[in-house]
Structures are given as C-alpha cells and as structure tokens.
C-alpha cells in the first residue's frame, strides 16, 4: 500500500495531473480547492482569464457532483476531480456515478454541445439563461454550456457501465 502510493502519485504526474481529489465533495472544499489552484497557477505563467476559466470549470464540476452524483454518503456526494497541464493547455477531469436512466439525456446534451462552435455556444447560453432551468436541474441548467464556452476544444465524455443500475460518468475539459 505505502509503496503503491508513490506509484500512484508518479502515475498522476505522468498524465500531467498536478491536483487530484477523490471522495466526498463539499462546498467548503470547493472554495479551498479553488483558492489553492488559483494561487498555484498564478505563480506559473497562466494569464488571468486562463486561471479564472480553470477555477470556474472546477467549481462547476464540483457543484455538479454535489447536486447530481448518484453515489452518496449521508449528506456528501462522491466524485473525483483532477486538474492537469499537457500540450500547453490546462485540463480538468471530472467523474462521478450516475443512474443508468440518466445517461440518455446527458449524452444528448453533451453531444449537442460538442457540435456547436463558439458563437453558437454563446447564443445557446444566453437563450437557455433566459428560458430558465429544465425540471431535472437544481441549478440554472447552464453548467455544461458554461464549461463548453470556456473550453478550447469540445468536451470529451464517457460512460463506463458498472452494473445494471449505475455507470461511471467522466468528462475532460481542455481550457
């Protein structure tokens, strides 16, 4: 176990990941992670907009996990968030369990966003903001669109079937 921990850390490093959190995600944690990442990135060469986009993507993902993860322990929602740097771009990875019956809708929404250009995303965001959230949303229903707008290429996503009830939903957002 102890030896493996080093291997695990090295493995993250090889993938360009400089921050990773797996477990219960809470609002307090979100604020701390955000602030720490901001400081870490500001020490590097990242510009203001980049730092804020990474920060924003981490917050949206964390709040998605808090609201929608289908793996819970009492009041906490479980998920994983990682932040890395590769090919001169920051990226954010995010994953959590979802009920299999939610996959269709998620896939549909995310595929739609993948096929939009920057301008279409901007217009879609403004239209959706006017319309208000869909019934299944407990936020404003804008999180994915916001991330897609801030990303430098289309959001990648995947569903890995775990059993007949749950799948692991993961996303990669390149800033």
């Amino acid at each position: 176990m102890l030896k493996d921990l080093y291997e695990f850390k090295e493995d993250l490093g090889k993938r360009g990941i400089f921050f990773c959190l797996s477990g219960p995600i809470s609002q307090n944690l979100v604020a701390e992670i955000g602030t720490t990442l901001e400081q870490h990135m500001t020490m590097g060469e990242a510009g203001k907009s980049t730092v804020l986009r990474v920060f924003s993507t981490v917050v949206e993902n964390a709040q998605n996990i808090m609201r929608y993860s289908d793996e819970r322990e009492e009041d906490f929602s479980l998920g994983i968030i990682a932040v890395g740097y590769e090919n001169k771009h920051y990226f954010v990875l995010c994953g959590n369990m979802v009920d299999n019956n939610k996959i269709g809708k998620l896939r549909e929404n995310l595929t739609k966003l993948q096929n939009m250009n920057k301008d279409e995303l901007k217009k879609y965001y403004r239209r959706k903001r006017r319309e208000g959230p869909p019934p299944e949303s407990s936020g404003a229903g804008l999180g994915f669109i916001d991330m897609a707008k801030k990303a430098s290429k289309p959001i990648e996503f995947n569903f890995k079937t775990i059993d007949d009830k749950l799948s692991f939903f993961s996303m990669k957002i390149v800033i």
Binding site: L52, R130, A140
Partner: protein, 130 residues
C-alpha cells in the same frame, strides 16, 4: 428603510446597498451552493427600495471577479429588475466593473449591455488588484 449590508464570504459577494447615498454595490465572487437562498433578501430589499424611490440618481456597481453559472442567471434577473424600474422612469446607472485582462467578465458585461434597454450601462475597466 435600512441599508442592506452583507459581508463577503469565500463564495458569496459583498452586498452594500446604501439607501441614503443611493449606491448599490455587489462585489466579489459568487458561487454559493444555493443561489436563491443567498440572493432572496437582496431581491426583497431591491424591490422595496425601488417602490419607495423618487427622482434620485441611483448608481449600481457590479464588480464580480467570478460567478458560477447559476449566479449568472440570478445576476441577469437582477439587471432585468433594474432595467424595468428604469423603463418606469427611475434614473439608474449600472457600472459593470471588470479587471483589465479578464476577457470573460468583459464578455458577460457586453452581453448584459445588449439585453438592457433603459438603464444607463457603463463597462468600466480597472487595473488588477495584485
């Protein structure tokens, strides 16, 4: 009525609505877990204030370093309330304050500006704090 002062936290902005100076300020970051819980008293105060106000010039300063997507919706609603009051004859100036190299904040400001018809809207660039 009394002024509304709410101190900033890590994830909610400072609210300083001064009903004597007629300056309303929202400043900081906005990504609360539950947006409507935080903003409900803000909207209630604003509604009462606008009902009782006369011909005075009102200045609204919005200086948000960062806000999440559900706050973005609330801020739009906030601007809409101001715009409606302005179309009823209230004299409202809305300053959207953003840091020099923050493209996204500028873009949000420009979008709000396009949507608003009656308030006097200014995009105000300021130098970064650090």
């Amino acid at each position: 009525m009394n002024s509304l002062i709410i101190e900033a936290t890590k994830y909610t902005p400072e609210i300083s609505f001064d009903c004597e100076q007629h300056t309303l300020g929202i400043k900081g970051k906005s990504y609360p877990e539950n947006t409507s819980v935080f903003y409900q008293p803000v909207f209630e105060w604003l509604e009462e204030y606008l009902e009782n106000i006369g011909e005075q010039n009102i200045t609204v300063n919005m200086e948000l370093i960062y806000f999440n997507s559900s706050s973005s919706k609330v801020l739009m609603d906030f601007c809409d309330v101001l715009d409606e009051a302005a179309s009823d004859g209230k004299r409202i100036t809305l300053n959207w304050i953003y840091e020099e190299d923050d493209e996204d904040a500028l873009e949000f400001g420009e979008e709000f500006q396009e949507d608003l018809e009656s308030v006097t809207f200014n995009l105000v660039e300021k130098a970064p704090e650090r």
